[in-house]
Amino acid sequence: MTALTLGGALNAALRRALEDDPKVVLMGEDIGTLGGVFRVTDGLQRDFGADRVMDTPLAEAGIVGTAVGLAYRGYRPVVEIQFDGFVFPAFDQLVTQVARLYHRTGGAIRMPITVRIPYGGGIGAVEHHSESPEAYFAHTPGLRVVTCADPQDAHTLLRQAIACDDPVIFFEPKRRYWVKGEVDDVIDGSTAPMHAARVVVPGTDVTLVAYGPLVMTARDVALAAADDGISVEVIDLRSLSPIDLATVEASVRRSGRLVITHEAQQHGGLGAEIAASITERCFFHLEAPPVRVTGFDVPYPAAKLEEHFLPDLDRILDAVDRVLGREHSLTGWRG
């Protein structure tokens, strides 16, 4: 066990993947000498060479499209998209090629490509640097979508993603890059699979589903709720496609109440998918309608407004109150 930041845990995972598999290559803008704008690839080009840690031209479609060709050739590319808002030039290659080639070729060609994307807000950034575009990718068959919330998962999930023979969109919660935690680098038969959700705080009254940057917030919600005598069970989804609905369903069957939170906009988001799926699966166990606490359906706002866009402890607590039918809703909503 080593104490690492989340970014440091990702760096260690990349280093380990480069050591373990000579077919792993890293591609991205500024990932070489600079070590990436968040330093996630710090020192890797120095230690593994420019042939395996490749600074690329500034062209996201170009990076992902050439990664496809490398995968055809038997390589296992790990692509860094510098910021969430910069992934869209590569969207065509990801959706029309990366996601479909295994299917299109009847299983003949695999696309073991990992696309790392720092995502989410809360760092006071300019436009296109705080987006949460996960739903676009989760909507695309053929892609796996995962995100991490702590250093241990950052390390484990990234190594699992790189080892996976399917393409994986790997979302990194950029405002949590500097969170520290103990990291065990052993991956064996007892390690949870990449697609499994995890109960991070057990509870009985309300199921609170979160992922990525909001897992930490959700833990705080559980602590605060406990002060009020409410037992909140927090589930970290980890995998956004596929979603481990069985874990959520089992929790909701016990609690009867579901709150889902994500930074991404609400309409057509993952919260909608989870609410619908859980309602289909355990309608008669629900004591209240599922509630979503999300970013609003607006473009990500200017930095000085982002605290009003991002779900925070109080907004999520308010939702917990709603599903419990409590009267003192902060925003005046009624369940």
């Binding site: 060709g69 055809y72 053929g142």
Partner: protein, 436 residues
């Protein structure tokens, strides 16, 4: 500025020759532009300099044009090997005609004819080694034929019974890419991989004139140049992107784009199989020996529709069409072989018979393609199925089985004719009566 000044200039960069030129003036069959640009200038613009010359080794009348630079690259192509190229071209034209007929007869949903582009495709594809790898668009069926794709596999996708026709690794050619230009990046990445592996295999990207406007193609050239990737960008300028003439894609000859990226380029008479072979070999050799990418503009003409769904009579000037018909790539080789005394009745008879046999095989293979079983819709989405997909698969299987139980029909999996299972539903009464 007048509105008329803003109108795009749609003039092709290579005007087809007049009928007279085509038949009597070998050297000018495809005129070499000496001044850049279209004729219909409406305002001043800087002189961009002369357009690059076009490589041509066979004139339309079948005479061999000496070219000290390129002759050595085809010195090994004796009559016998030229006959083989001739046969390929005749066969792929016959297959193309057969596939078009199969579409008209309702056997194929769609077909993208290559009529007129036989020399460009055969000449380049036959220059490749088995360990080279092709990334193509959807019109390169002659390339696929040369790579060893079977006639049945050529029509599989177009009949709609599979998402791919063949195993890419088995033939060294990726599944055709329908998104325009996307495959040029794949070829570049593959080429970078070849270089990493220390092998001298080359990736070849086939794309059209329309694709040269796509960002992916430009990014591919940036990446290929930066990493000095062993890739050949083989652009068939067939003058049309559905209804849009090449003049809408570029104000300059397409080959002119590459040097700006640091990539050498060449314009070749795309209806001259010998010249196409020569320039492709030059490009491949450059790639194999560490010289990096090359851009080839093969100037040719799409004589058919974009696809069988297209109606080119709405946009093609019949006179222009006829001028290109006179530049037929197969007739050119025949005239050459005739001059060499090789175009015998026996040869044409043999070649025609082989083409007919291939076409008959394609037809039989096409008729034999069965719709895949319904539940295969869930196959090959992930390398290991997800719980979601397994759930959807089992639910749909149960749904289909429900009909089988009601009708006593066979298993749901055989499903080509759905009417039998749905025939008892009132909603289907009007159409499914025959199956009750």
């Amino acid at each position: 500025m007048l509105r008329s000044d803003l109108r795009p200039d749609l003039t092709p960069h290579t005007d087809p020759p007049t009928a007279e030129q085509a038949t009597t003036t070998p050297g000018d069959v495809l005129p070499r532009p000496t001044a850049a640009g279209p004729d219909h200038e409406t305002g001043p613009r800087p002189d961009p300099g002369p357009a690059p010359a076009m490589v041509q080794l066979l004139a339309q009348d079948g005479t061999r044009r000496p070219d000290p630079e390129h002759d050595p690259w085809v010195a090994d192509l004796d009559d016998e090997r030229l006959v083989a190229l001739y046969e390929d071209m005749v066969v792929v034209r016959r297959l193309d005609i057969e596939a078009t007929a199969l579409q008209r007869q309702g056997q194929l949903g769609l077909w993208p004819p290559l009529l007129g582009q036989e020399a460009a495709q055969v000449g380049s594809a036959r220059a490749l080694r088995p360990d080279d790898f092709v990334f193509s668009s959807y019109r390169e069926n002659a390339v696929a034929w040369c790579r060893g794709v079977s006639t049945t596999d050529l029509v599989r996708v177009w009949k709609g019974t599979a998402a791919t026709g063949w195993d890419p690794r088995a033939v060294g050619m990726a599944t055709p890419t329908i998104i325009i230009g996307a495959q040029t990046l794949h070829a570049t990445g593959y080429a970078i991989g070849c270089a990493k592996d220390g092998v001298d295999s080359v990736a070849v990207a086939y794309f059209g004139d329309g694709a040269t406007s796509e960002g992916d193609v430009h990014e591919a050239m940036v990446f290929a140049a930066s990493y000095r990737a062993p890739v050949v960008f083989f652009c068939q300028n067939n003058q049309w992107a559905i209804s849009e003439p090449v003049g809408l894609q570029s104000r300059r000859p397409l080959a002119d784009r590459a040097p700006g990226y640091g990539i050498p380029s060449v314009r070749v008479d795309g209806n001259d199989v010998l010249a196409v072979t020569a320039v492709t070999r030059v490009a491949l050799d450059r790639a194999r020996t560490g010289g990096g990418p090359t851009f080839v503009e093969a100037v040719t003409y799409r004589r058919g529709p974009h696809t069988t769904s297209d109606d080119p009579t709405r946009y093609v000037d019949p006179a222009v069409h006829e001028r290109w018909v006179a530049l037929d790539p197969i007739a050119r080789v025949e005239r050459y072989l005739e001059r060499r005394g090789r175009l015998t009745d026996e040869l044409t008879g043999t070649v025609t018979a082989r083409a007919d046999t291939a076409a008959a095989e394609m037809r039989a293979g096409c008729h034999g393609l069965e719709p895949p079983p319904p539940l295969s819709v869930f196959d090959h989405v992930y390398t290991t199925p997800t719980s979601w997909l397994e759930r959807q698969r089992s639910q749909y299987a149960a749904y289909l089985a429900m009909f089988d139980e009601r009708t006593g029909d066979g298993p749901a999996g055989d499903g080509s004719e759905g009417g039998g299972t749905a025939g008892d539903d009132a909603a289907d009464e009007g159409t499914a009566g025959g199956t009750r």
